[in-house]
Structures are given as C-alpha cells and as structure tokens.
C-alpha cells in the first residue's frame, strides 16, 4: 500500500520548461538549411516523373536551365521559353550563357560542367532538341533531365 501512495504523489503534468529549447533547436536547423529562393522562375515548372533517378554529386558544377511556357503570356507569349539565371533568353544565347557559367568555375573543373535542365512536362521535343544542339555546340555535354520520383511498378 505504501508503494501505491508514493506513486500518486508524483506530479501528473509533464514539465514543459524545456519545450522552447527544443523548438529553438528545430528552428535553427531550418534556418540553417533553408535557401531562400534567389531566382524568380518565370516559366511554368511541372517536372516530369521518372524512376531511374540519380543524384548529382558536386553542386558547384551544376547550372540550371528552366524550360517551359512563360507564366506571364501577356509579356512573353505562350511558346515555351528558356530561362537562365533571372531572364528569359533565346536559344541562340545558350552558348554565351554556358561560357559565362564555365568562367565561374576553376580551370580544372570547366569541362565537368553539368547542365540541369528543368523542363516542364508539356514542352515538346522541338525546343528541347534545339537546346541540346546548342549545348553540344557549347561543349557542355553533361546533361541532367531534372525529374521527380515515381514509384516503380
């Protein structure tokens, strides 16, 4: 009986004084890992799905190219456009852009540049193959078709 009495004496509420600390820990984690989007994406981005995904290793070697219908058709029309950095560019300017991106890398890494092409799933192969042709001309042959995962059947 004595044992039971002892138990009932213990307070029933959980000490919550450490709760702010835990929350702060989580907060700091997200503050550190968060990357506020530095680019405004001007084209539609619904990435296609695929199963055989591979991750890229060195993030510094990656340059992004966004392809899709412009979000503001009044300004840029309805045909799929290419966005590099913050602006829409013409397909012809891709060589120039690749060379600029290559200049940002060190001498030894220049030929390892990888282009991550984030193309909308509704884009047709015509513009895509034009971009690929320009990338070949610019000698940036490593290409990644950015896509999201899908459960393999």
């Amino acid at each position: 009986m004595g044992k039971f009495k002892k138990k009932t004496k213990t307070s029933e509420n959980i000490p919550t004084s450490a709760l702010p600390d835990i929350i702060f820990m989580l907060l700091f984690f997200f503050m550190v890992t968060t990357v506020l989007r530095e680019q405004d994406i001007l084209v539609e981005q619904k990435l296609p799905q695929a199963t055989q995904l591979q991750k890229l290793e060195k993030k510094t070697l990656i340059s992004y190219l966004f392809v899709g219908k412009p979000k503001k058709p009044a300004l840029y029309g309805t045909e799929p456009r290419v966005q590099a950095n913050d602006v829409l560019i013409n397909t012809k300017d891709i060589i120039l852009w690749v060379n600029q991106e290559k200049d940002k890398l060190s001498e030894a890494e220049r030929d390892q540049i990888t282009i991550s092409m984030k193309a909308d799933r509704d884009v047709k192969m015509g513009p895509i193959s034009d971009i690929q042709f320009e990338l070949r001309e610019a000698d940036a042959r490593k290409l990644l078709y950015a896509s999201t995962g899908k459960v393999q059947n």
Binding site: P20, I23, Q54, E57, K59, S116, D122, S129, Y145
Partner: protein
C-alpha cells in the same frame, strides 16, 4: 503603488516563448525548399565539325533496337505498334543480352555473367550480336512534336534496363547501384565492374521536322 510594484514577480514570463518560436519555425518550414538535384543523366554526343563528315558507322539492322515516338506520343518499337512502355525494359534487356553472334571477347564476357543474366541469352540470329561496343545499340527517335514527358518515359525505361543489368552483375539492387557515387575507390570499382564490357549505348537521333515547330 510602490508596494504593488514590489509584489509583482521579478521573472519574465517565458511561457509564450515557445509560441513565438513555433511561429518562426512554421515560417521557415513553409519557405524552405530542400533543393534536390535528381534526374536522369544523359551525355550528349560531341559536337560535329562541319569540315569533317560524320563517321560512317555501319551497324547491322539486327544490332539496333529501334524506338520511334511520333507526334501523337504513340510508340513504334522494333517495327510494331505498342500501346505503352510497360514491357519495354524487359524487351531491351533481352535484346542487349541476346548474344546472337558473339566473338571471343563476348564469349568471355558471357561466361562472366551471373546465371540469371545468362538465361536471357536467346541466341536469336535476328537480334543483337553481343552487348559490347558496336554490338547492341538502343536508338530513340522522336518527332519535334513528341512531348518531353513521353520522351523521358522512354529514356527512363531504357536506363532501367541497363541499370538492372549492371546491378545484377555486382549483386546489388537497381536502387543501390544507382545510388553509388564513385566517391571512394570501392564504389568506383563496383560501378566499373557493373559496366565492364556492356557500355551504355543509347543513341538519341535528331527529331524529325514533323508535328512541331
């Protein structure tokens, strides 16, 4: 007045601290985008020199696995109309590992394969000679009007066939093989062992000018 002041507790009320932290936490949770650089890798062919004519590589028809996708996203695989790509990767695996007319090196390669892959060798004279360089090529041809999604679906299935072969050779699952980075020598050796003798031969032809812009 002075009395009542002194009666007030000296401690700051920290109970709402958690609420404030929660608000901030939720803000960062919402705004955070954990960047994922995942996708299907592809190596484009080197650029053509206009002064040098493209090398005239003679390949027998039986050594090419033809995949055509038209502007209506319909598949035409090895001369047959196919509804979907469900069986495509299995067909490609059979094609690559056919060993129709292997030379000495290819026989050595065949003997080094695990039993499950050996079983796929149908030795069909109408399919590929051997999986080594110049022996089995998967060709993907699209129209300019083919949708990117469909093209990627096909490429995905072709890659799947290759990765499953590679993974089986080193005794891993396909997922594990794809996750290999080659950062340390052990992983690099595994990657090379999987690929050895069976190069990734995917030919992506220039699209036709039909049905697009």
């Amino acid at each position: 007045m002075a009395r009542s002041k002194s009666r007030m507790s000296q401690e700051v009320n920290a109970g709402s601290m958690a609420d404030i932290a929660f608000l901030l936490l939720i803000f960062f949770l919402v705004t955070t985008t954990i960047a994922s650089d995942k996708g299907i890798q592809n190596l484009l062919p080197p650029k053509q020199d206009p002064n040098v004519p493209p090398p005239d590589i003679k390949l027998n028809e039986r050594n090419i696995f033809n995949i055509l996708v038209n502007a209506n996203d319909q598949f035409f695989i090895e001369g047959e109309y196919v509804e979907n790509t469900e069986l495509l990767s299995e067909d490609i695996k059979d094609f690559i590992l056919n060993f129709g007319a292997p030379d000495e090196d290819a026989v050595a390669l065949f003997n080094g394969l695990p039993q499950s892959l050996k079983a796929r060798a149908n030795r069909d004279g109408k399919s590929s000679d051997h999986p080594m360089s110049g022996g089995a090529v998967v060709s993907i041809k699209t129209n300019r009007g083919t949708s990117y999604e469909t093209y990627l679906e096909v490429l995905d299935q072709v890659k799947r066939a290759y990765f499953e072969i590679y993974a089986e050779r080193v005794g891993l699952t396909s997922e594990q093989y794809r996750a290999l980075t080659g950062k340390n020598p052990a992983e690099k050796a595994l990657i090379d062992k999987g690929k050895e003798g069976i190069p990734l031969a995917i030919s992506i032809a220039e699209p036709d000018k039909i049905g697009g812009n």
